[in-house]
């Protein structure tokens, strides 16, 4: 028996699928006008999707639990270290400018993290330990 919730879920999944189709279609368009049309419809599909998402959320049918603070800290540590590794290795080539510390550069995403995260790994070479998938993936 199809229930109210199933219909909303079905509509949400349909929207996701359609939106993804427009995303590909837009990027594969040689014609600019056609691409703009695809992008315009994509925007509308996203709005419909969000409308359904809100409807489900308001009815308590979509209740993602809050991310654990520990998991956030752990992820932040991990990706800050990864950023340090990129700064130290990937951008450090002979003839290139000395890498600058993260956080001050315009265009750098401003995360609200405590400065010092990831600093411990600076300069050390532990390529194996750099990427550790979170123990409890946030779903």
């Amino acid at each position: 028996m199809i229930e109210e919730k199933d219909r909303l879920t079905d509509t949400l999944i349909t929207q996701k699928y359609i939106a993804s189709g427009y995303n590909s279609a837009a990027s594969e368009s040689a014609n600019t006008q056609l691409m703009e049309n695809f992008l315009g419809i994509l925007r509308d599909e996203q709005q419909i999707q969000h409308e359904i998402f809100n409807e489900m959320k308001n009815r308590g049918w979509y209740q993602p639990s809050a991310a654990k603070m520990n998991d956030i800290t752990q992820n932040l540590n991990q990706w800050s270290q990864e950023f340090q590794r990129l700064q130290n290795n990937a951008f450090h080539r002979p003839g290139m400018q000395q890498p600058q510390p993260p956080g001050y550069r315009s265009g750098t995403p401003q995360y609200n993290y405590q400065p010092g995260f990831g600093q411990q790994q600076m300069g050390t070479t532990q390529p194996q330990a750099m990427y550790q998938p979170p123990q409890n993936p946030i779903t």
């Binding site: 109210e4 594969e28 014609n31 409807e55």
Partner: protein, 68 residues
């Protein structure tokens, strides 16, 4: 300007999806017992119909003759 095979394929693919979405929303509007959701499904079906028309117009612009 010509339409590429890829573009034609993508328009067709999206028309297929929109067509299904219209049918689906229309029947959901009938099946639902909640007046608010009935209206929502009808509204969404209408928006998908608009998308269908836009896609169709794009295809028409590249057709050899205006037959539609």
């Amino acid at each position: 300007m010509q339409l590429t095979e890829m573009e034609l394929l993508n328009i067709g693919e999206q028309l297929r999806s929109e067509s299904l979405a219209i049918s689906k929303c229309m029947s959901f509007a009938q099946q639902s017992t909640d007046p608010k959701l009935q209206q929502m499904y009808a509204r969404i079906a209408e928006r998908h119909r608009g998308h269908y028309e836009t896609l169709l117009r794009n295809m028409q612009n590249f057709a050899p003759q205006r037959q539609f």
